[in-house]
Structure formats: structure tokens, C-alpha cells
């Protein structure tokens, strides 16, 4: 197992290297950081010597060799903590990116826990009585959940719990935007949880729908397998068959999916964060992208890419842990 982990980690280095180079080139082409800088600083942009200085300091040389040199300059700065400052506002990137990452992890992990737990429970609940009313109800609910896009559910929930509720009772039941009430500073888990309720619900709706379907299908497969029939014929109780044998094996593909999904969460829950004005990775990306802010987008991409690679590894490890037949060599 250790060899596997080490090998995968070693492989991750060239993978990251190649991915970041490709992303570097793509982002430079897409955002044209020099033009973005010129737009953000229109007066400075008309001073050739200042623009030349900006090019030198940030490695924005043209041509293939310029891109390669620029990439290595960026990489060295990134690894040594000497990050480029943002184009908009000329601010250090890490403080805002760090906050966005933490905020998204809070929201994403909570939504994942809620969504996956409920989804799995509903999937098991449906799979145990396939074709019955409960199965139909869960399947129909999942279909509806899939169909309601976050931008619809978010607005509906905001209208109901805030606007209409305030009209009826004088105060909104749940806040509709931000992480804390205006004027609040510092960390307050209770307030934070209150502000996360609606975003978590919105993000969870589709997660519940998806995982209930995955779990139902996976569990049905396992429950109808030969080895469980054998187990039952040996007189093992249905409860033990379910808990000890069926669930564990049914979880194998689920865990893989969950790991990949959680990895992708780091990339931001863009729609939900935008609607709820939640300052996470999605909002960070949207803002940086709209500003063509290359120095902000590159570290964002690196973190998202690293997250996907890391969670892929975790998925493999979990896979092996759940299914001893799988050898990680």
C-alpha cells in the first residue's frame, strides 16, 4: 500500500507539471494578462516603459520560448511563495484564495455529508423493496431533484424563507446571502451554520438525487449476486447479509464517485455561490475570470487540479480498503 501511495505521489509530480504548463499556456492565451493589466490600468498602459517593466516582472514574453520562460518564472515564484499580485487592485493573491478555499470546503463538505448521507439512506431504503411504493417514491423524488437546477431552487428558497417569510412574520427565517450577517467579524460557527443552511440545501438537492440512484442501483446489483445467495443459503441472517456483505461491496463504486465529487467541489460551487453571494472558490473564479486576472486564476487552477489528483488517489485507497480483492501494487 505504501509503495502504491509513494508511486502515485511521484506520478502526481509530472502530472501536475504537465497540467500546470498546459493551463498556463491556455490561460495566457485566454485571458491575455498584458491586455487585462492594460485595461485595469489604462493610464499606466500608455507608458511603454512601465508596460515593459510589467512584462519582465511577470514573464509575459511572447512566442513559444516566451511562454516556456514565463512558465518557469511563474513556477519558481509559485513554489517559493513569491506569487504575482492580482491585476485588479495589485493585491496578494493567497489571502483571498485561502479564504475562498476554506469557505468552499466548509460549504462543500457539509453539503456532501448531508447530500451523500441522505442519498445513500434513500438508495438503501428503495433497494430493499424494489418496485414497491417506497422505491417509486424515491425514484420519482430523485428525478425531480435532478430536474431542479440550483439557480431555480436557490431563488425559490430565498423567496420563501426570506422575502415571503419576512412579509408574513416581520423577519426572514433564513438569511439569503453571505457567510455572516452584515457587520459581523470573526469566526462564529453557529451564525455560520445558519447562513449555510440554504446553500447547503441547494447543493444537496442534486447530490441526494444522484446518490440515491447510485446506491439503489449498486445495492440491487449486489443483493442479486451469487455470493449473497450463497450467504443466505448458509443461513446468515438477512440483516448480517445486508450490513456485513452487501453494503460494503455496494459502497465500492459509491466511494469512488464520492471521492471524485468531493475533489471537484474544491473547484467551487459556482452557481450556488454566486446566487448566495458566498465568498468561496466559485466566486473567486468568477471574479478573477471576469477581470481576466491571470495571477489569480493560475493558483486557483493549481489548487483545483491538485485536489482532483489527490482525491483520485484517495478514491483508489478507499477502493482497496473496501474490496480486498483489489491489490494496489
Amino acid at each position: 500500500m505504501l509503495r502504491f501511495i509513494v508511486r502515485r505521489l511521484l506520478w502526481a509530480i509530472p502530472t501536475l507539471f504537465i497540467v500546470t504548463f498546459v493551463v498556463y499556456c491556455a490561460l495566457r492565451l485566454a485571458t491575455n494578462p498584458l491586455a487585462s493589466y492594460a485595461r485595469a490600468n489604462p493610464r499606466i498602459a500608455k507608458q511603454p516603459e512601465k508596460m515593459a517593466q510589467y512584462i519582465e516582472e511577470n514573464g509575459l514574453w511572447p512566442g513559444i520560448t516566451g511562454y516556456i520562460r514565463g512558465y518557469f518564472l511563474w513556477l519558481r515564484g509559485f513554489l517559493t511563495g513569491n506569487w504575482q499580485v492580482s491585476i485588479k487592485g495589485s493585491r496578494p493573491v493567497w489571502p483571498n484564495l485561502k479564504d475562498a478555499l476554506i469557505n468552499t470546503l466548509r460549504l462543500g463538505i457539509m453539503a456532501s455529508i448531508v447530500g451523500i448521507s441522505i442519498g445513500l439512506a434513500l438508495g438503501i431504503f428503495a433497494a430493499l423493496k424494489p418496485g414497491r411504493l417506497r422505491d417509486t417514491a424515491v425514484n420519482t423524488g430523485a428525478l425531480i431533484g435532478f430536474s431542479i437546477q440550483p439557480f431555480i431552487s436557490a431563488v425559490l428558497l430565498q423567496l420563501f424563507f426570506a422575502v415571503q417569510w419576512a412579509k408574513w412574520f416581520g423577519e426572514p427565517l433564513l438569511p439569503t446571502s453571505g457567510m455572516y450577517p452584515p457587520g459581523h467579524t470573526g469566526f462564529d460557527p453557529v451564525l455560520m451554520l445558519k447562513y449555510m443552511i440554504l446553500p447547503v440545501i441547494v447543493v444537496s438537492i442534486q447530490t441526494v438525487a444522484a446518490y440515491s440512484r447510485y446506491m439503489r442501483a449498486s445495492l440491487l446489483d449486489v443483493l442479486n449476486s451469487d455470493y449473497l445467495r450463497t450467504a443466505r443459503s448458509k443461513g446468515i441472517s438477512e440483516r448480517r447479509v445486508l450490513v456485513k456483505h452487501a453494503l460494503r461491496n455496494a459502497m465500492v463504486p459509491i466511494v469512488t464517485l464520492a471521492a471524485l465529487d468531493v475533489g471537484a467541489i474544491v473547484g467551487g460551487l459556482i452557481i450556488s455561490e454566486a446566487i448566495f453571494e458566498y465568498p468561496g472558490m466559485g466566486m473567486f473564479f468568477l471574479t478573477a475570470e471576469s477581470n481576466g486576472d491571470f495571477p489569480e486564476l493560475m493558483p486557483w487552477m493549481v489548487i483545483v487540479t491538485s485536489s482532483v489528483i489527490l482525491f483520485n488517489l484517495l478514491a483508489d485507497l478507499a477502493y482497496a480498503w473496501l474490496d480486498p480483492r483489489i491489490r494496489l501494487d
Binding site: A38, R39, A40, N41, P42, R43, I44, A45, K46, Q47, K50, K88, G89, S90, R91, N96, Q158, L159, A162, V163, A166, K167, E171, P172, P175, T176, S177, G178, M179, P181, P182, G183, T185, A274, E277, P279, T287, S290
Partner: protein, 576 residues
């Protein structure tokens, strides 16, 4: 919304003490008290001994035509208790004049020297010429001790604004909120009433209205539309207040380069715009019976000639003009010359439904008239802080907020206010229009104290503007404030028409007792620098600059100036 920032910055710089070394005989000086309307040379005063005791001086020096002596109130201090002195005036002047990317140097560039007078609480400023709009100068001071180098503060104020001489100071600012708390050292009588004021960004008008209805914000200041009033009509605790003031909307033609650099094409295009139909389609739904603003880039009043921009719509004349000058319609039905039909990029800020509606209405009409107009929009910050200053558009549509003094016309339309290398790319002439005769008239107006004479120059300059088709004014736009009466009280409606907007929020009361007042902001500044591009937005100056930086004069709700508590007395103005 765009702020005419020239006067604000101009106001900043004048407060510097001026060295009077090269001035002439003070006994011959004539003076007038700031705020009076007397003609230069009317009233003789004793000469002042301006340079006594001064150790710091800024400016190029030379023969002065006007001198202003400012006496700072003895009790006037910054929020840390340190005194406000002539050094802060000097620093402000230096920052405006020398900072890379300074938004505008208008007014300050007329200053010869700024120096301390008889004490550190006296500032003497000398001008090359008589500068009538002097009350717009030094409207917000930069604290010398807060910056490393007054001659270039472009790297300061990225995420914090560390000083205040207003009733509130900024406790914190980030992408999600700005928190103001009382300035304990504020010496004035109008101290902060509520223990905290929070300003939060809202993505668009729909969001801010929803936040108001959900009691998440207490006050918003949106561009008015009937939909705004309709949206809150069902909530008895929300009050809507509308006032007409210095806001006006217009269509602007960038003519330094691109299709409108051709004056024939520009004129034909402008004459093809049916302003009456725009009024009917876009503005009448806002205010019944809305009429076109015909003054030019100024609102009705002393400086407006309401016959200047009338009857501009003349499609036949436009077509004839183009044909006479070698234009012909191509196969697509667009006017073309030498085989090329120019594309006209119409820029507005995305999310502004009224302007988007104007595009949806007008673009097909203009295309049918043979003009290849395309929408080329971006976010408000992109429009006002990036594309307008770099003249990166062909046709623009936005609201300007005119300060009380028409000096802003100089900073917005004079030739030397086109951002160029010569002026260090400072200047707000975002149309790129240059008419030397008009420029001379505007500067002459700025050097004329007699208001009638000054109005004459300004009207003449605007007539030249009309002849050159620089812009088409459309509508004097109402200002609106919406607030929850169950959350906030006091004089909420008293200053809505002020150039400084809701700048009296320090006097508002916290009705529901939650300890704070929350204001929703439609736009959010990218940084807090009061001198550079950051300040090229109304929302920046409303939410940061005005609440924190006191200067010599404040603007009033009825479009005038009043002395701030920072000053001991009216400045003494002398023409030399």
C-alpha cells in the same frame, strides 16, 4: 454611474499652503471671501505674510494671480488625534499632481505653490491664474502621515483606508463589506449617531431590492425605475424617495479613434438617433411626461441654455450628408466608404436593464438607418474604471453626476484632459474630443469669478460641443433612496440629491436597535485609492471617500457648497 471627479480632486489640492514668495505687493491685492459672488478686485484687504514660518512648500512657483489663505480649525484632528495641518494639504496636492495614474489634476495644475502660513494650521495657496472653481479643490484631504511618499500614492490604499477626519472611520474593508465605526476624536457637532454602519455589495438591483425586502439591508440607493417602486410596493415598511438633482444620462461619442473620429460620420449618426422615441420608450415609463434634457452635459440652472441641444433628429439630412461625402450603403444596407462599413461598439454596463432596453430598442433602428451598431458591454467596473479612461468604446451611455460647480466640464471636455503622455495620462475627457476654442472658453470660465460672465462662457462652450456632436443628452435622471422605516430613521431623505449622495448617514438613527445600519451598494470598488482609477466611480466616492475624507467645502443637497467644520473661517481669496 460616473462621478465627475475633477472637482473633487481639484478640491483636494488647493488646500495646500502656498508659498508666496514670488507674489507681488500684497497691499495691492484685492480679495473676496469664499462663497461670495463678488468680482475679483472688488474688495481690498491687508496683505498677508504668507510664508512666515513655513518650512514645507510644494509647487513650481512663479508669479501668482490669485491667493487663497485657509485657516484650519484648531480642534480639527485626524482619527488618531493628530492635528490636521498644512502638511496634509501639501501632501494632497503632491499626491494629485504626481501620483502615477492620477485621475485628474484639473485645478491643481493652476496652483503655483502650497505652503504653511503663519502656523501649521494655516495654508496659503497661490495660483497662476484666477481660478473661480476653487471651492471644488481640497474637498478631501490625504493624511501625510498615512502614506510613505506623497508624490506617488499609487501603491497605497489597496485594501485599507487608515485615516478619517469625518464622524466615522473605516474599521475594516474587504470584498464582502465595509464597516464604519465612530471616530472618537471627531471634533464636530455632527457626531456619529449609530455605533456601526455597514455597507455591503449587492450584485444587481434585483438582489439589493430582495435584500431590502428581506430586511437584510436597511437602505439602498438604486437608479430609479418604476419596477423598483413596484417591487417594494407591497411592503408598508419600505419608503421610496425620489429627487431630481445633478444626475443626467447621455449618449457619448468617442471620437479620438474609431468610426466617430470622422466628424461627418459622427454627425450623421447623431442626427439619425430619434431622441424623442428614446424618451417615449425608455424614459417616459420612469417618469410620466419625461422630457429630453436639452442643456448638454449639464442640468438646468444658471449654466444651462435649454435651446442648445434641440431638434437633433434629421435622418434625411444625415443620409444626404453622408452621400455628399462619399458614403454609400453596401450590400448589407450599412453606410460604407472605400468599401468599409464601420462597426460601432456601443458600450454599457451589463445588468442595467434600462440601458439594455435602450440597446434593444435603438440598435435595430440604427441598423435599419444604415449604421452597424453592436452591443459591446461589460461590468460597471470594467466600463468606468477601465474602458472609459482608455477610450475603448465608440458609443457610450451612462449617467454623470455633476457637482455644483460647472468646472467639471473642463476636466471632462478640455483638450488637455484627454489622457495622453503629455498629461501623464491624467484626465477625464473620455470622449477624446478636442476643440481648442471650446477649451479656451472652459478655462476662461474657470478663471472668471462673475457668475453671469462665467455662465456665458460655459454656454458658448457647450454650443461648440453641440456643433461637434460630442454627446447627446437624454434625461435628467432622478435619484432615489429606498429604506426600511422599521430599521432606520432620522434625516435619511435629506441628502439624496447631494453630489455626495447619502453622505449624512452618520446622522441616521438605528430604529430597530440592532446597533447598526446596513446600506446596500450596487458597485464595489476594486481598491480604495482616492487619487487613481479606483476613484473613478460614484460608488467608490460615496462609500469610501466622502464618508472618510473631509476637505474645505462640502456639497449641499441644493447644489451648493458649505464650509466644513475642519475650517476655522471662510478662506480668504485674493486676486493679485
Amino acid at each position: 454611474m460616473r462621478t465627475s471627479k475633477g472637482s473633487k480632486i481639484a478640491a483636494l489640492a488647493v488646500g495646500l499652503s502656498l508659498i508666496v514668495a514670488a507674489c507681488g505687493d500684497d497691499k495691492d491685492a484685492s480679495s473676496t471671501t469664499a462663497g461670495s459672488e463678488t468680482t475679483a478686485g472688488s474688495e481690498t484687504t491687508a496683505g498677508s505674510e504668507t510664508t512666515a514660518g513655513s518650512e514645507t512648500t510644494a509647487g513650481e512657483g512663479g508669479e501668482a494671480a490669485m491667493r487663497i489663505t485657509y485657516d484650519i480649525a484648531e480642534e480639527a484632528v485626524w482619527d488618531d488625534g493628530s492635528p490636521i495641518t498644512a502638511d496634509d494639504f501639501i501632501c494632497t496636492y503632491e499626491a494629485v499632481m504626481n501620483t502615477v495614474g492620477s485621475l485628474s489634476t484639473v485645478g491643481y495644475d493652476q496652483i503655483l505653490t502650497v505652503a504653511a502660513g503663519e502656523s501649521e494650521k494655516q495654508v496659503v495657496v497661490e495660483f497662476k491664474t484666477v481660478y473661480a472653481p476653487y471651492r471644488g479643490l481640497f474637498s478631501g484631504l490625504v493624511k501625510k502621515a498615512a502614506v510613505a511618499d506623497c508624490n506617488d500614492i499609487s501603491g497605497d490604499f489597496q485594501t485599507e483606508f487608515t485615516f478619517s477626519n469625518r464622524p466615522y472611520k473605516l474599521e475594516s474593508w474587504d470584498e464582502t463589506q465595509a464597516i464604519f465605526v465612530p471616530n472618537e476624536n471627531y471634533w464636530g457637532e455632527d457626531k456619529a449617531v449609530t455605533s456601526k454602519v455597514v455597507i455591503v455589495p449587492k450584485a444587481d438591483q434585483e438582489t439589493e431590492i430582495a435584500s431590502l425586502l428581506a430586511s437584510e439591508v436597511d437602505f439602498i440607493y438604486p437608479q430609479y425605475s418604476p419596477e423598483t417602486a413596484d417591487a417594494v410596493a407591497g411592503d408598508a415598511n419600505v419608503k421610496v424617495s425620489i429627487q431630481f438633482g445633478g444626475d443626467y444620462e447621455g449618449l457619448y461619442f468617442q471620437q479620438q479613434e474609431g468610426p466617430f473620429a470622422d466628424p461627418i460620420f459622427r454627425q450623421a449618426f447623431a442626427q439619425s438617433i430619434d431622441v424623442d422615441s428614446i424618451m417615449e420608450q425608455i424614459y417616459s415609463p420612469i417618469v410620466e411626461g419625461a422630457e429630453q434634457l436639452t442643456c448638454g452635459p449639464i442640468v438646468p440652472g444658471r449654466f444651462c441654455d435649454e435651446t442648445t441641444v434641440q431638434d437633433t433628429y434629421d435622418p434625411e439630412g444625415a443620409a444626404a450628408l453622408l452621400e455628399e461625402n462619399g458614403w454609400a450603403k453596401d450590400g448589407s444596407g450599412f453606410w460604407a466608404k472605400d468599401g468599409e462599413a464601420p462597426e460601432i461598439r456601443w458600450m454599457i454596463n451589463t445588468g442595467n436593464t434600462r440601458r439594455e432596453g435602450a440597446q434593444a430598442f435603438l440598435i435595430p433602428l440604427m441598423q435599419a438607418a444604415g449604421f452597424n451598431v453592436v452591443a459591446d458591454n461589460c461590468e460597471a467596473e470594467c466600463v468606468f474604471q477601465q474602458r472609459l479612461p482608455s477610450l475603448d468604446y465608440d458609443l457610450g451611455m451612462y449617467i454623470s453626476t455633476a457637482p455644483p460647480d460647472p468646472q467639471y466640464l473642463t476636466s471632462s471636455f478640455a483638450c488637455d484632459q484627454i489622457p495622453t503622455e503629455e498629461n501623464n495620462f491624467a484626465g477625464q475627457n473620455s470622449q477624446g474630443w478636442c476643440n481648442q476654442e471650446a477649451t479656451d472658453l472652459l478655462y476662461k470660465a474657470d478663471a472668471t469669478v462673475d457668475l453671469d460672465e462665467r455662465a456665458g462662457y460655459i454656454k458658448d462652450a457647450i454650443k461648440l460641443m453641440r456643433e461637434d456632436w460630442v454627446m447627446l443628452p437624454t434625461f435628467q435622471f432622478p435619484k432615489s433612496g429606498l429604506y426600511r422605516t422599521d430599521k432606520v430613521g432620522g434625516p435619511v431623505e435629506d441628502e439624496l440629491n447631494n453630489y455626495a449622495a447619502f453622505n449624512n448617514f452618520h446622522q441616521w438613527t438605528d430604529v430597530d436597535g440592532d446597533g447598526q445600519i446596513v446600506i446596500g451598494a450596487e458597485q464595489w470598488p476594486g481598491c480604495l485609492n482616492p487619487i487613481t482609477e479606483c476613484a473613478n466611480s460614484s460608488w467608490y466616492v460615496w462609500t469610501i471617500s466622502f464618508p472618510l475624507q473631509m476637505g474645505v467645502y462640502d456639497t449641499t443637497n441644493d447644489g451648493d457648497y458649505k464650509l466644513t467644520p475642519m475650517m476655522a473661517s471662510e478662506p480668504v481669496v485674493e486676486t493679485l
